[in-house]
């Protein structure tokens, strides 16, 4: 049985929330680390 997925839109809001929940902390962590890295080039 093969059921190819067609385009999906109803979950766009859920998708944004899910990615924000992991993306925002990750971006914060990268930003904080980069401020420390700046000492290397300062």
């Amino acid at each position: 049985m093969s059921t190819a997925q067609s385009s999906v839109t109803p979950s766009t809001g859920k998708l944004v929330i899910a990615w924000a929940l992991v993306g925002v902390p990750l971006a914060y962590g990268v930003y904080e680390t980069l401020t420390r890295v700046a000492a290397l080039f300062g």
């Binding site: 997925q5 979950s11 914060y28 962590g29 890295v37």
Partner: protein, 464 residues
Amino acid sequence: MGWLDRERTIAPPGFNRWLVPPAALAVHLCIGQAYATSVYKTALVKHFGASLTEVGVIFSIAIVMLGLSAAIMGTWVDKNGPRKAMFTSAAFWASGFLIGSLGIFSHQLWLVYLGYGVVGGIGLGIGYISPVSTLIKWFPDRPGLATGMAIMGFGGGALIASPVSTALLKMYDPNSGATGWVASGESVGKLFLTLAVVYLAYMMFGAFTIKVPAEGWKPAGFDPAKVRAAALVTTDNVSAKNAVKTRQFWLVWIALFCNVTAGIGILEQAAPMIQDFFRQPDGTSLASAAVAAGFVGLLSIGNMSGRFAWSATSDVTGRKRIYMVFLGVGALLYTVLALAGSTTTVLYVALAFVIISFYGGGFATAPAYLRDLFGTFQVGAIHGRLLTAWSAAGVAGPLIVNAFLDAQGKPGALNAASYQPALLTMVGLLVIGFVANLLVSPVDARFHEPRPGGVRSEEPALEA
């Protein structure tokens, strides 16, 4: 608990597969805290009146338990599905922090070993492998990209945990800001309690977001014929029990072990190493403590970004070729680092950054490599068994580096030349890994699971 069963997590028609990577990331970002233990290491040394080694054992136990639980529980994870696995991982990881905090508040170091080390370590192992096989099934067209995204989270978790933990320790300790301040044990205990609650909530989000694809699902426009075209990519399946009987499994194990051992060699010593490399004849170093801290941060970024970038690239180049780059180019870069790394800081930092990106890339590409060789049937369980290479490297890497450095002199008196024997040993290891990877060939058909209607005559013996 039926609501955790695999059958209850089958995606309905129209489910967006791009919801799966953030679910996987939610788990990996939490367990990635394991790389941020240095934040409170000194505080625990002072609190327990223990040595650095005694406190370091907490992390070592956790990494050994990670490898063991991933190897032992891999088949259970594949059978029960990602939701139950993530839920279990969250329970163990949060309990590890709770028991650890009890140990801190009651001044019982053994309770921290048991809590963070053993219980938390089990959570690490189950959590690490929990989304891997599901991601590979959702992204048959880009397995490297999918697993790279999740495993990148393990590298990224420390980037978040480190500044957040520092801020919380300052908040919980009334003496923060004093000259020569070291966080109190009580503040570390409170930090553990906080992390337990936050990580439990985040991992539950992952557990209740993840879904497995329905039987026979494939992404729109995906042509399985393209997968068949690649020489090392099988469309057959090998069970975990049979995979460990194949030469290919152990060749990949050796390649991963060599790659991780070499990477840990730099990661473990990162801060003192850059200062030693640029030590002047009068004993001072051109690299200050702030520069060394910046260097450690840069390596964390290299580790994290390498996991995503190299794993995603492997979808285009193939897994064997990308491992040839990790190990072959890695050996070359390590040689330059050993012989000319002290020439300029720019060269040193650039070399170390690329080498560490290869270290991360090796981890993230491994599940897709296993998928190519053994199919999707029990890839999570096979991956779990492969992670024993990580545990072994976690012991071997620091042992090699520390043994060579101990023979060269005392910390603070070392220079670039002191590191050459250790670094050149890592070059030798990388060459061994390169040869092992070169020898990887398709798995013999006698190890394949029977196809529907087909029969395999006998249990395959260990491959010669």
